[in-house]
């Protein structure tokens, strides 16, 4: 295009000028890179250097290559949002990665020259993202679930000035919290149960014209994307209504683990054995009647209550919940106080294995001890109801002997939380922990399934410690116990955070900006449909379910659901998917730009495709700390290993590279790939490259995939050195000179 103007700048600061011939490198940009305007500068990130670049941009430069430090450094100085920008990493990637010796000088120079060739080639193929044409209009927040998490989400969204649509399956708002007599305190003095506050939240929501409440209602279908979701709500009358939605908070809570699955603990055998919800019911009835809580079997006086912790939880038999629900210890303490506060003469015993009351729960626990609640470390084996009394048999873990409590009037089983997270999109036949076959909650019309993907034990949590609101369905944020077992205080905090993320997703979709982790990215995948073979790989492999299929199984991209990882680009066998500033061509051109010495040079070339979040920074930091590596590698950062298209590998090998190293994040159960399955997909795809290598008569060692971490500052240079030795052993590629 005639109006494009390319400029390249070679910095000689930070020792670059002393270690390499910057003038030669600049000449390469001009001659081989075919860049019209090439400048050298001794200190490019200085105000003077930056002003120079700005001036050139002002005079029409639209594409700028900067050959200086790593793209991770000096980002503020080299921030030119109006141009396409490529960075050649001559500092961390070249001079700091190499020893300062005479014998290293030549190969170090070659490295620098190649990185400049690569930046120029990349620049030629890059476009400044024009901005996503698919922008949202709606910023209304859909809250699914009217329990304390959903109510909190609705109230907080309103306080921030956003309209809310709230859908509740039950006839009444309030969820579990409305069934409680009181709740565990979240403020000092943490001494006694307090009011739940749920009435006030319901009032705030129902009296606010900015919240449209649908009770006895479910989502019949959810379609669209952030900023333009369309929720079809099935309402009580049997009719359905459509609401335009910007983003969604799913606060569908939990079901209590069904105590009837615990007959050995007396459940179902006597009305005097209840779960925690049953005890709340008794407490509310007692309050209504003005009487103390009485024995369900005959209305008799309650003199002794036993609380059985971890009933059907932390189970190792595989029959019940393997996890801990976290809130139940405090709940049992609260319920023991219901009795002690009314009548200190009632015996209350909590039988537990580990009492788990983190934070200020410790004060609450202490308060219970002062009130005379007895805590016994033990594991309950069985509960035997006999008439109006129950015998609780347990292993006393302190005395290491079997023990029993006889004559309990009431036994409360602390069963746990089972997430109401909808269907398991990976296993349609899966039942939940209660043995029920879940029905879909969101009824998404997405290609990849109707509900949020689940993480573990049926909860729809994020996998990331640093990013609890990382969602695999952009614009839909789980909050409260649907996400992870939790108590009221955490659920309310969680719901508040989730609303922020929902608001953020809706607002950014209007600006065409990506959601986390490439926040603000304006690029988006573009597909050339006339070349598409409808193979469906992109629609199946997208980690975020962003791509649907039309009736002819062509991909339908929903840009504002996309997180810009490029997994679709890596998946596409006919290479019709690309981003304007990151494409099959921008990387392919870099690969081809590298100068490949001939077979007899003893200078192999190894292509390194490195994840930009972990492997690339690790290489930078390794060099910063003086850990050197082979001058034969040429490193290209990729958005995610999932974005690596196998054409890059075959192009590299056909072009005479001697080996390819792919460096991505850990995959498997504890995966660390922030695009969920990018590194796993890449590994799988590369396992198939062996066939290609064989047809090319190349050794399988010529392509290697590694799981690396950002802390591998010593290991990464070592991996490179080791790989260079492998190449040395198998010899130079026979493909040189044919490209």
């Amino acid at each position: 295009m005639a109006d494009l103007k390319y400029a390249a700048y070679v910095c000689s600061g930070c020792g670059i000028g002393e270690r390499i011939d910057a003038a030669q490198t600049a000449k390469i940009a001009e001659k081989e890179g075919k860049i019209a305007l090439v400048r050298q500068h001794p200190f490019l990130c200085s105000s003077d250097g930056v002003a120079l670049i700005r001036k050139d941009i002002g005079e029409g430069a639209t594409h700028v290559a900067i050959a200086a430090c790593s793209r991770r450094a000096k980002t503020e100085a080299f921030h030119f949002p109006s141009v396409a920008l490529a960075r050649a990493n001559l500092r961390e990637g070249v001079i700091w990665a190499r020893p300062d010796t005479d014998e290293a000088r030549e190969t170090t120079q070659e490295m620098a020259d190649d990185y400049v060739r690569m930046a120029c080639a990349e620049l030629k193929k890059m476009k400044l993202p024009a901005g996503n044409p698919e922008v949202g209009r709606s910023t209304r927040i859909l809250v699914v679930g009217g329990g304390i998490s959903g109510l909190t989400a609705a109230v907080e969204a309103r306080k921030t000035g956003y309209e809310v649509v709230l859908v509740e399956k039950q006839a009444q708002l309030g969820g579990w919290a409305a069934k409680l007599w009181k709740r565990v305190p979240d403020r000092e003095p943490h001494a006694a149960p307090v009011d739940t506050g749920v009435r006030e939240l319901i009032d705030a929501v129902t009296k606010d014209a900015g919240v449209k409440v649908y009770t006895n209602a479910t989502l019949a279908q959810t379609s669209g994307a952030p900023g333009r979701f369309n929720a079809t709500i099935a309402i009580e009358s049997g009719a359905s209504v459509n609401e335009e939605i910007g983003a969604i908070v799913q606060a569908t809570g939990f079901s209590l683990y069904d105590m009837n699955r615990l007959p050995e603990l007396g459940a179902g055998k006597s009305p005097n054995v209840v779960d925690q919800a049953g005890l709340e019911k008794l407490a509310r009835e007692a309050e209504a009647s003005g009487q103390p809580i009485c024995r369900p079997s005959d209305g008799g006086e309650v003199k002794s209550v036993v609380f059985v912790q971890c009933a059907g939880q932390r189970d190792e038999s595989g029959k019940h919940l393997p996890y801990c629900s976290g809130y139940c210890c405090n709940t049992s303490i609260k319920q023991a106080m219901y009795f002690k506060d009314a009548n200190p003469a009632v015996d209350t015993v909590v039988v537990y294995t580990d009492l788990r009351v983190p934070g200020n729960g410790e004060d609450f626990y202490r308060s219970a001890q002062h009130k005379g609640v007895v805590f016994t470390k033990g594991k309950v084996a069985s509960v035997e109801p006999d008439g109006n009394a129950c015998t609780v048999n347990f292993r006393d873990l302190i005395l290491d002997e079997d023990a029993r409590i006889e004559g309990a009037d009431l036994v409360v089983l602390a069963t746990g939380q089972v997430a109401n997270a909808g269907v398991d999109i990976e296993n349609a036949d899966a039942t939940d922990a209660n043995g029920a076959k879940p029905i879909s909650i969101l009824n998404l019309n997405y290609r990849q399934g109707k509900d949020l993907p689940k993480l573990s034990h049926g909860f729809a949590d994020s996998h990331f410690i640093c990013f609890p609101y990382e969602t695999r369905r952009t614009g839909i944020y789980a909050a409260g116990p649907v996400r992870r077992p939790m108590d009221i205080a955490q659920a309310m905090e969680d719901a508040t955070g989730a609303v922020l993320k929902a608001i953020q997703a809706a607002e950014n979709s209007q600006l065409g900006r990506s959601a986390h982790p490439r926040s603000g990215d304006l690029s988006f995948p573009m597909v050339r449909l006339d070349g598409c073979t409808q193979c469906k790989r992109c629609t199946v492999e997208c980690p975020f379910g962003a791509i649907d299929e039309d009736e002819k199984t062509y991909p339908v991209f929903n840009e504002s659901r996309c997180r810009r990882c490029g997994t679709c680009m890596g998946a596409c066998p006919v290479r019709v998917i690309s981003f304007e500033n990151y494409s099959v061509d921008t990387v392919g051109a870099q690969i081809k730009a590298v100068d490949i010495p001939d077979e007899f040079s003893e200078k192999p070339r190894i292509l390194v495709l490195a994840c930009e979040n972990d492997a690339y920074p690790a290489l930078d930091m390794a060099a910063m700390q003086g850990n050197h590596y082979s001058a034969f590698v040429r490193v290209i950062p990729v958005r995610c290993l999932g974005s690596v298209n196998t054409i890059w590998i075959t192009d590299a090998l056909n072009g005479g590279y001697d080996g390819v190293m792919m460096m991505g994040c850990k995959h498997g159960d504890d995966y660390q790939c922030h695009f969920v399955k990018g590194s796993a997909l890449a590994t799988e795809r590369m396992s198939k490259v062996d066939e290609t290598l064989k047809t090319m008569s190349l050794e399988t060692e010529r392509v290697a995939t590694y799981e690396v971490a950002i802390t591998d500052l010593k290991r990464l240079p070592q991996l490179i050195e080791d790989y260079a030795k492998v190449i040395d052993k198998i010899g130079m590629s026979p493909m040189k000179g044919f490209a």
């Binding site: 200190f43 990130c45 573990s456 950002i710």
Partner: protein, 427 residues
Amino acid sequence: MTEVVATSQTIVVVGGGISGMTAALEAAECGRQVLLIEKTPALGGRTALLYRYFPKLCHPTCGLEINLRRLKSSRNLRVLTMAEVTKITGARGDYSVSLKLSPRYVNENCTACGACSEAVEAAIDNPYNYGLSKMKAAYLPHAMAYPQRYVLDPSIVGTPEGEKAKAACKYGAIDLGMKQETLEIKAGAVIWATGWQPYDAAKIQPYGYDRYPNVITSLEFERLADPHGPTGGKITRPSDGREAKDIAFIQCAGSRDENHLRHCSRICCMASLKQTQYVREAYGEEGKSTVYYIDIRAIDRFEDFYRKVLADKTVRFVKSKPARIAEDRKTLDPVIHGVDTEGYHRYASRHDLVVLAVGMEPAVKGADIPHEIVADSSGFIESAASGGFFGAGCASNALDVNRSVQSATASALRAIQVVRKSDRVEA
């Protein structure tokens, strides 16, 4: 002079650890103007000093890299390091915040080339390794430090060492005449994400942290395991540098104790379980971990991790709060004395190294903050619904990283609710 544009629409976030960075980024990515204030020379806070996170055993620096990239690409967020809040006046929606900016003696010309550090010989205790190692007095705080700019320790300013640094810099980045500055800025809301500090282990006298070299804190142990740490990731004894293969972890060191911290610090059980796996990583079957505990608080799906550690033959659990630690004078081995409450047996157990799982207390007590603020009796900040001050992360409660980030995200929304007034018409 440092110039900062801030208005009553600006959200000020105090503290640049993971909570503060999260609160600042989330608000900025909602289109809000944010000023992030950090006391030390670099962002990252305490999580940057952890080797791995539980339960995935992933690396905190991975998330830090993502957050730094978000931060570098955000035009709504401004960062001030070496800055502290000294005074706040005004009310919700209209505060005046006074800041004290300490001199870094290095200006924005710094390219982080490292020439000053090479030139300087003076060394100081490395706070990023809790003083377990030394570093040059001209330093980059750590490999991922943001801003990526060196710092001169004040101790060398005005000495020949300072002049050496200045002479070594080709870019005019060393400014030995830099003075402390004060700055007045406007803010609509303030988020306190001032984090936590370890409870002073020396106060738990029977454990002898101040007397025995081979009794260390859980935070120091993180540094020992970290390849960036003082031993390059080797788990060794401070007394003699010998490999520490038999390690005791004492839970509730300062927590759940009316003489020290009343609250449970929440993270320590999981942190110790995680650290037993560092021992396994380093020494395999030869490593030996013993966890002395009251209750193992591995809530929700952390239970999976607890079970994995329970199945690990190199890890032993003793239900006991140890009474005291003695030291073998000859070998300097710590010997733990106590009673195992599962069966009431007395024990005297010798280990190579004892790690105290120290409790978490707020780094800044609510009462110390220069404005009226609501804090509980432990100093954790409570967000007052009517005010424009919000606690986030461990400044507000004893939280793990995941919950700190939730808390920080929620506090960002609360701050937005304060500053949004003028620009969005209620529907």
